[in-house]
């Protein structure tokens, strides 16, 4: 069992003179689902991007620990799975090619069996050889889940996970969240009641607007 710890210290993000959020302090361990909620434009996506290390904060730090050891920023990306509406995969390649290319760039082995399983779970196995450009938005969203899970991350960040999904898709997402949170951390940024119902704790961004 992996022992993952996420630590958010005095985190602030300021765009120009506009304060997005201020002084967020949080610390969570494995086997935890954290929800992030806030009105549109409140900075949910900004916060998850900072946690994933693709955006730099104005002040404060986000530290990731695995088994008590701090992870270098340079290696962080292999510990994180990320799903969000603004994430776009390479549309000129097929789903399978995308996954193969990505695992090569990540420098990990392409686990054919595991990915086949994921493709089947996400109802994409029959269309795996089609170019992503021809997919519907719901199918693209499901492909993103495979992209996020294929390297078995310790921290799964889901930004609006159920957008564009039908009921069946939503159900499989919830089952993933349930399975995954047993050993790892899952962060869900969403405003949907249904999504937030799966969280152990919810962080309301409105509280961090100003002191």
């Amino acid at each position: 069992m992996s022992n993952y710890k996420l630590e958010i210290k005095n985190l602030s993000k300021i765009f120009g003179q506009r304060i997005i959020f201020q002084n967020i302090n949080y610390s969570i361990h494995s086997n935890f689902v954290l929800g992030i909620s806030g009105s549109n434009g409140s900075g949910k996506s900004t916060l998850v991007k900072i946690i994933a290390g693709v955006l730099s904060p104005t002040k404060g730090h986000v530290n990731h620990f695995v088994n008590g050891e701090k992870i270098d920023y340079e290696k962080l990306f292999n510990f994180i799975g990320f799903v969000s509406p603004y994430l776009i995969l390479y549309e000129e390649f097929s789903a399978e090619e995308n996954l193969k290319i990505i695992s090569k760039i990540r420098g990990i082995k392409y686990e054919a069996e595991y990915i086949k399983e994921l493709l089947a779970k996400m109802n994409l196995y029959s269309r795996r050889k089609d170019i992503v450009k021809t997919y519907s938005s719901g199918m693209k969203q499901r492909l993103k889940f495979i992209f996020a899970l294929m390297h078995r991350p310790n921290l799964l960040i889901l930004d609006e996970p159920t957008s564009n999904l039908d009921n069946e898709g939503k159900e499989s997402v919830y089952s993933i969240i349930k399975d995954y949170s047993l050993k790892n951390i899952v962060i869900i940024a969403s405003n949907e009641e249904q999504d937030l119902a799966h969280c152990n704790e919810i962080l309301f961004l409105e509280k961090y607007k100003s002191q």
């Binding site: 693709v54 955006l55 290319i101 990540r106 420098g107």
Partner: protein, 221 residues
Amino acid sequence: MFQKSYNIFIKDIKSELRTRYAINALVMFILVAISVILFSIGNEKVNSDLTAGLYWVVIFFSAMSGLSRAFVAEEEKGTNLTLQLIASPDTVFTGKLIFNLILTFFMNIVITFLYSAFFESFYIKNPALFILTFVLGNIGLAISSTIIASIIAKAGAKGTLYPVLSFPILLPLILTCVQLTIFSFDGTNFESVFYELSIVVSYNIIMITVSYLLFDFIWKD
């Protein structure tokens, strides 16, 4: 680390072959640029100094039309975030740099062949010096244009901004390379061009160091 960068490069090549945005346009651009120069020269006899200058002018503008592709394509497709999530900044930069290096060499070999076919004064008396200049110049060109491309990919008005930002940065390199090309036409020996060669080498070293140091800041939104 290098293996991963190489895989990014392979991905770019595959994507390029599938979409063929840059390659076709680039080859046409080179042909057009050289024929414009040939038309404007007419029957005039061009001396070797001017030929060397024109040679690097074509190289500069071809680079400006093709080398921004590596980052701009990623930005246009919106796949920036994906790449951020699967590779460290250094890996990405190395991958893109390899892509641009290959593209620069391909492009400039084509240009060199066309020049030696159509320009009488493009006669090299010191081939070793010419090849050395060519290799070092191309490396410098690829490094600087890769880092500038990563900047303009995040800015608006990408097409026009690229040559504007690159020119002052590339000017020292291009001036020295023009000088070295003239020397290779004149058949100057290596000892007397040591100064120029060391300038090009130090330019390349400084640029690659600065690029790796600064790329983190550009790449992280």
